[in-house]
Symmetry: C2
Subunit: 207 residues, 2 copies
């Protein structure tokens, strides 16, 4: 979830005697036949009070980088929960901004790195940014999330034009006054599937 202009990662306190003090939430594999997605949803349910609005696998890791549980193979997942999900977490869990992560087991570091890359790559294929916000939000909120995830500033007018053209949001009619400045209108995520435009090939991202 986003916490003041940064993405934050949920960590849980490691058991006594571990090499690190914090770990990613994880669980050992149960009996055969369980879907990985269900298993990941279980882990998430145990870690945060509300279900993530987006949850996706980022890959399997089995090299010699150490996992806290010393398991041979780990399957990493990323999820998104709305900003403001800090209440009722319990003492054993906390959000850490990605730039200030505590020491993690090497394999967990790799998983976090892969998760961040996955988020960036799937940002325009899945409604990740919307799942990082509460159900009603301002357009400036939304733009801030995109700027956090992309790591660069965006042009306000272009952002809104593109958003409008894709008809992804609906105004709720309510307005929110956030301290100083003009109040902003609240929107909700309400995609009305227009025929998606097919554009040319992008060579400029290659390499």
């Amino acid at each position: 979830m986003p916490v003041d202009r940064q993405l934050a990662v949920l960590l849980v306190r490691a058991p006594e005697g571990s090499l690190e003090r914090w770990t990613l939430p994880w669980a050992p594999a149960p009996g055969t036949g369980t879907s990985l997605d269900e298993l990941a949803a279980d882990v998430a349910r145990r870690a945060v009070p509300i279900a993530p609005g987006w949850l996706e696998q980022v890959g399997a890791f089995a090299d010699d980088r150490r996992h806290p549980g010393d398991v041979a193979l780990s399957v990493g997942f990323v999820g998104a929960v709305p900003a403001g999900t800090r209440s009722s977490l319990g003492e054993d869990a906390a959000w850490f901004p990605v730039a200030e992560l505590p020491a993690l087991a090497p394999r967990h570091q790799a998983i976090v790195a892969a998760a961040l890359e996955a988020v960036r790559h799937r940002l325009d294929l899945a409604p990740i940014a919307f799942r990082l916000l509460p159900s009603s939000f301002t357009l400036s909120d939304l733009q801030r999330v995109y700027e956090i995830l992309l790591g660069r500033r965006l042009h306000k007018a272009s952002f809104r034009r593109a958003l409008q053209a894709a008809s992804l949001v609906q105004p709720t009619g309510e307005w929110r006054s956030e301290g100083r400045g003009r109040p902003a209108q609240l929107f909700r995520f309400a995609p009305r599937r227009r025929g998606r435009r097919r554009r040319g090939v992008r060579f400029d991202l290659l390499g």
Copy 2:
């Protein structure tokens, strides 16, 4: 690899007594600590005479869809080998166009589907199309590969303009006459890293 206007998948003959006649090339996991990428490269090396120019993980699969080896968890990989790699394959392996795949174990079907999606999603992040062609190729060849992978026709002039602007290819100076029609100039993949352009957010692919 591309085979007459379609992508083709390499399958190997299943051992006697299996439920299906063909399977994806696969190997059981060895002892702990082996990198998955090395393992995948090994499997590829055993399956095709030349090393794939691109190889990437597509994810882990552990639901109750059956794997021919009845393993609990499988990690799928995709690779790309140049068109024309059909010689010296041996009798136990063959290329099948994706539209005419024989019956496969359910988990292998899922892996193939995920692999195709991965190819499409990473097409403009990794030089996949170039790895599906021999080291020297015509621009029409390249465009055909992109059209196969994207599943739609592309505009010739736009395609070449964008390619030129990204300075990804160099003319070799040679020309190839392919039956009828004007001979085409041969190019090689020679990316000269220009500063990649940062463009706006795409909302139109979302959903």
